[in-house]
Symmetry: C2
């Protein structure tokens, strides 16, 4: 009847839906700067695609000088680069809008980071060449299915403006954390677009097509658009760059704590510049304290861990806030930017605790 003494305690992905599979990273319970692939959040529009991996080729066509079709072997032979990057779903934190908005009720965990390796998209486009009128690069995935609004089948496809496509850190990735990309995250090839919300980072790439017009696929022109008005589409604009943001990992909302020392800790990230400052409030925003930014080898695309040692002797209720500011001077707003589909939530983060 002997048993192992202390059982393992570990966090799991948090299931939002299974069909398609949408699961959150348990971000409050993760210390690592490199999310293991099993805890990387999963965001799918459709069921997982079936296609031939053993006979995989990548076509690059459209407004190019010379259409090409690359084998995996050819792709692996190009000079590669590895970048540490945050990927965040644009619906991350949607559940915090008040009143609630329709769609996946993500809390704080539709975000992960790690090391992606691959060949710059630029390198491949230099090989195919670009026609003179080339405006956008459409990357299409193998995943497809019916949309509830259009009653028609679509593949998941997104475009990048030429300048973003040619950015040297926009890569066609084939490895995550030094290993082939796990199937659920886009094997064998995934587009990785630093600094943009992750809908741009198309998985299971089927083809790359250069166009001389604006792409109007539904995942570009209907979804992933900020609609600031409830009833009309006026003033709509596309979801692109990740907003400056922060998340308190510890303590948890509605925690009950002892008096004494507590570490307040979390992460902050932005799609524009780097995080320059994280401020903490323990009195609901009346006064602000500067959090300590952890040393990091941040290349500019990773999140910034931060912490604050809080010593509390007075019993009572406290509202703890975190507010990040990036190097462009953008701070997190007090209130979220309301938009009908619930994208880009980045209001100041808060948790309430009771000290007894």
């Amino acid at each position: 009847m002997d048993r192992i003494n202390q059982p393992k305690v570990k966090p799991y992905l948090l299931t939002r839906s299974l069909s398609p599979e949408n699961q959150e990273t348990p971000i409050q319970f993760i210390d690592a700067d490199m999310i293991p692939d099993k805890l990387f959040y999963r965001r799918n529009h459709f069921s997982y695609p079936a296609f031939s991996y053993s006979n995989y080729f990548l076509p690059i066509n459209g407004s190019v000088s010379k259409p090409i079709v690359l084998s995996m072997q050819e792709i692996l032979e190009f000079p590669s680069k590895t970048i540490q990057i945050v990927l965040e779903c644009s619906g991350d934190k949607r559940s915090f809008f008040e009143p609630k908005l329709f769609g996946e009720q993500w809390e704080k965990g539709a975000i992960s980071q790690g090391y992606w390796s691959g060949v710059p998209l630029r390198t491949l486009l230099e090989r195919s060449g670009l026609s003179e009128g080339a405006k956008e690069v459409v990357v299409e995935g193998y995943d497809f299915g019916e949309r509830t609004d259009l009653d028609k089948v679509f593949t998941f496809a997104r475009s990048l403006p030429i300048e973003k496509a040619l950015h040297p850190d926009t890569i066609i990735a084939y490895e995550y954390n030094g290993k082939p990309i796990p199937f659920k995250h886009g094997y064998p090839l995934r587009l990785i677009v630093p600094q943009w919300y992750a809908m741009a980072s198309v998985k299971w790439i089927k083809q790359i097509r250069v166009i001389d017009s604006h792409f109007t696929g539904p995942f570009q022109a209907i979804d992933y658009v900020y609609y600031p008005h409830k009833e009309t589409d006026q003033e709509a604009f596309p979801v692109t760059t990740v907003n400056v943001n922060s998340t308190i990992q510890k303590p948890l909302d509605m925690d009950i704590l002892n008096t004494g020392m507590h570490e307040i800790k979390g992460i902050a990230w932005t799609g524009q510049g780097v995080i320059s400052k994280v401020e903490i409030s323990i009195d609901g925003g009346t006064t602000w304290l500067t959090a300590k930014l952890e040393p990091s080898k941040n290349n500019g695309y990773a999140w910034q861990s931060w912490s604050y040692e809080w010593t509390v002797s007075k019993k009572g209720e406290y509202v703890i806030l975190s507010k990040a500011t990036d190097s462009t001077g953008r701070p997190q707003p007090t209130d979220p930017f309301w938009n009908r589909k619930g994208y880009g939530y980045n209001a100041i983060d808060h948790v309430k605790v009771k000290v007894e």
Copy 2:
């Protein structure tokens, strides 16, 4: 480069805290009537206890005719029984109180069910005999730790009134779903108290003590008490019997659906009698429809699965409600019973969906 075609999709426990470990069952994503032990919700007050399993003995003492100490072998030799039973944490659904209450922010998954096997506590108490003044039976676990409010170390211990302790279905269990109880759920022995919230079902039993007074341990006299007032302890009463309740498993809150047929499904349970009726509303409570109760071999302690085939042709927003009534005539209330520590939430369940 060949890979398995369709990757597996499965739900996981939902992490509320790791120290101590509190994880929810992904109840919306589970069809089974018997929750596999890996998906059984975990509720701990302290870290997992370390004690000698290989040299395990169960003492029964206090106000008894003859104190006894039973070996596992002796316990296994008594006639056993197996009961299918719902265990629900009394804090289940705490996160739905408005405004929020302190404590673990359980959503709908601090509930699980399966088959527990063991020997009736009554059988063991017949062996030890009871003194004349015996009033309560205190069951103490091996788990212990410091409380935030009292700054003192306590073991987790709870008492049952004699009549509940002698109920033939109150058992000292040693198996869950036909296998030894997993360590995280109370190995080698766990008290199982049908129809009461699960704080009564003490894990890792260290000893059983009969007393002739009222037990006043903090998990009996401070926690697991309904406090109806914010500032005073007036009119407080203990948490015992599970309230009549229901949970909508499908659709999910804030889902976006197609027009057409959708199955609305869920579970209902009660600690008093059985579920006699589940009603559904798809118009926010104006009209009610009778859900179909699935046939079950319900022995009176298990939940009742229910479903309703909803055909919707008109686009728009819908608030779906579920209301269970048990055989004692108790229906779920429209509003939750507010109490300071957030126990026993059982208001009518609701989800909002959009049909497009």
